[in-house]
């Protein structure tokens, strides 16, 4: 399966930076994961969930620590499970209480990071976790690519099924409820999808900047679009462009791939911000 991909790349893109198999793997990973960031990012930004998605990174941090502490299960499994728990807990409490959302997220986020730091620093072993802070896209394995492919399919199917309802809720929750939409269920599904994507990509993108991958392409797309279809198309294209360009540049500049991708996405944001009056009424 992967050999086919390698041959294809050698045939159509015979460039020096794609000479190694780890770069071919990384390219495939970028092509699978950046569209998901572009898709989910649209509603993260529209629903003002930027702080929430940021906290998912913190939750994932604790997940890693717990995974290592417990042992026996793969760190990634612990990471995904804890992130799911974390995001569902925030969503449910946010819906059931009258405390403001950012306060709840702040409380969860700082609790998670404190817990994570305590576990990780126990016995002075913090250094071995530092790769999670920065991430390493080039370390991705064929097995992880297979998992990424499954997640990609799953998220796209979910987005086909629930996007309309998310949009309705984002415009007005009461209106959505009057239409018989189970707002809590939809919000849980959406935040779970976010948690899964953040959890599995954190080891490649890095905890410090993972949120920017969700926010920047969508925020840039908003500057130049005026309906949902354009918004999604441009957001996904921006995310993929930043991903591929960042991968290439990081190869030649010898910099961290995740950070390079984010920097390109940020430049897309600033340039579209300056041009926005030409596109949007």
């Amino acid at each position: 399966m992967l050999d086919l991909w390698y041959d294809l790349i050698n045939f159509i893109l015979p460039f020096q930076w794609l000479g190694h198999n780890f770069m071919k793997n990384a390219l495939l990973a970028v092509l699978l994961v950046t569209p998901l960031f572009g898709l989910l990012g649209t509603m993260v930004v529209s629903n003002r969930m930027v702080f929430f998605s940021d906290s998912l990174g913190h939750g994932a941090f604790t997940g890693i620590a717990i995974g290592v502490l417990v042992g026996g299960i793969k760190p990634l499994t612990a990471l995904v499970l804890f992130s799911l728990f974390f995001s569902i807990a925030i969503t449910v409490i946010k819906n059931k209480s009258r405390v403001s959302t950012d306060t709840i997220i702040g409380v969860f986020s700082s609790t998670a990071i404190a817990l994570g730091l305590m576990i990780m620093s126990h016995g002075g072993s913090f250094a071995k976790f530092s790769s999670y802070l920065i991430g390493d896209l080039l370390s991705i394995t064929p097995g992880e690519l297979g998992m990424l492919f499954c997640v990609f399919i799953g998220i796209v199917l979910l987005w086909l099924a629930i996007f309309n309802k998310i949009l309705v809720i984002s415009i007005n929750p009461s209106l959505a409820a009057s239409r018989g939409i189970n707002t809590l269920l939809i919000e849980i599904l959406f935040s779970s999808a976010l948690a899964i994507v953040v959890a599995i990509s954190i080891q490649w993108v890095g905890l410090l900047i993972i949120n920017s991958m969700l926010v920047l392409p969508a925020a840039a797309a908003r500057n130049v679009t005026s309906n949902v279809r354009q918004y999604h198309l441009v957001s996904v294209l921006f995310a993929m462009f930043a991903g591929v360009a960042g991968l290439i540049l990081s190869y030649y500049w010898n910099t961290a791939t995740g950070a390079t991708i984010i920097l390109i996405a940020a430049m897309l944001f600033f340039s579209t911000f300056l041009l926005r009056n030409r596109f949007v009424d």
């Binding site: 309309n164 007005n172 209106l175 409820a177 005026s226 309906n227």
Partner: protein, 271 residues
């Protein structure tokens, strides 16, 4: 369209004065220790525009949300149609007071309708058929030219009409309108009341409207309910506006031109 069948009226044996009605019985809402309102009993008749008035904090918007089932409340909501075919819980249309969306959101009026009315993912496709359908719906509220407009680029009055159109699809049994306190000019308000008034006549809808413009209420409403912690006063506009309790609450005389109005049903007035 099935809409007309649902609302075709024949005489009924129910204790509703009209052909179909919605009954709100013993509604109570409290947030923690704060009682928002209590013992609210209302009969809302088909084909009538009931205006809900009252000072700020009287519980008007909360009452609508309780009827929607979004706010926890005690009491029963019952709906009776002409033949008892469609009794039970009414199909409710709702126009919220304001939308909490980000003004820069890239969502067009067409996107909003597609998302509400269909399961076709509007981020992926659009079809000419939906476009035509939405266009027809928007004609009802004189907003067909707004179909490709971004939500954030609509004026207060335009947004209110678009939301009204949305609440009419499918035609509800009970329409709840929460009017914005500000942001709509006088012409926009008149247009809105005109459209609502036509709807009441054409579709035999029960409408509850929270209003802040007492002159328009006097002109267009069939019944007025003064709410302030409970139902203070309930009757025709003349009855309610001439009642000393109303003057007490609003602290002023309300002008109204009752001559323009269709004579309305005076039974179960509590004033």
């Amino acid at each position: 369209m099935i809409e007309n069948n649902w609302h075709t009226c024949s005489h009924s044996e129910s204790d509703c004065g009209r052909l179909c009605c919605t009954k709100i019985e013993n509604f109570n809402v409290a947030f923690g220790n704060t009682q928002i309102f209590q013992d609210v009993n209302l009969h809302i008749h088909c084909g009538e525009l009931t205006a809900l008035i009252g000072p700020n904090g009287a519980g008007k918007s909360t009452l609508l949300k309780a009827i929607l089932g979004e706010v926890k409340h005690s009491g029963v909501l019952k709906y009776f149609d002409a033949k008892g075919v469609h009794s039970g819980h009414p199909l409710i249309g709702y126009v919220p007071q304001y939308l909490n969306f980000d003004l820069s959101t890239p969502t067009s009026v067409l996107d909003l309708f597609t998302a509400y009315l269909t399961n076709i993912p509007c981020w992926l496709t659009s079809s000419q058929r939906i476009r035509e359908r939405v266009s027809q719906i928007l004609v009802k509220v004189k907003a067909e030219h707004l179909i490709d407009r971004r939500l954030g680029a609509l004026s207060g009055g335009e947004l209110q009409r678009v939301l009204l159109a949305l609440s009419l699809e499918p035609i509800p049994d009970l329409l709840l309108l929460d009017e914005p306190v500000s942001g709509i000019d006088q012409n926009g308000l008149e247009l809105f009341y005109n459209i609502v008034s036509d709807l009441r006549a054409n579709h035999d809808l029960s409408i509850i409207l929270i209003s802040h413009d007492l002159n328009l209420v006097a002109k267009y409403a069939d019944r007025v309910v003064l709410l302030n912690g409970t139902v203070i006063c309930n009757g025709t506009p003349e009855e309610v506006f001439n009642d000393p309790r109303t003057r007490n609450v609003f602290g002023m005389l309300v002008q109204h031109n009752a001559q323009d109005k269709i004579p309305s049903n005076k039974e179960d007035s509590s004033c």
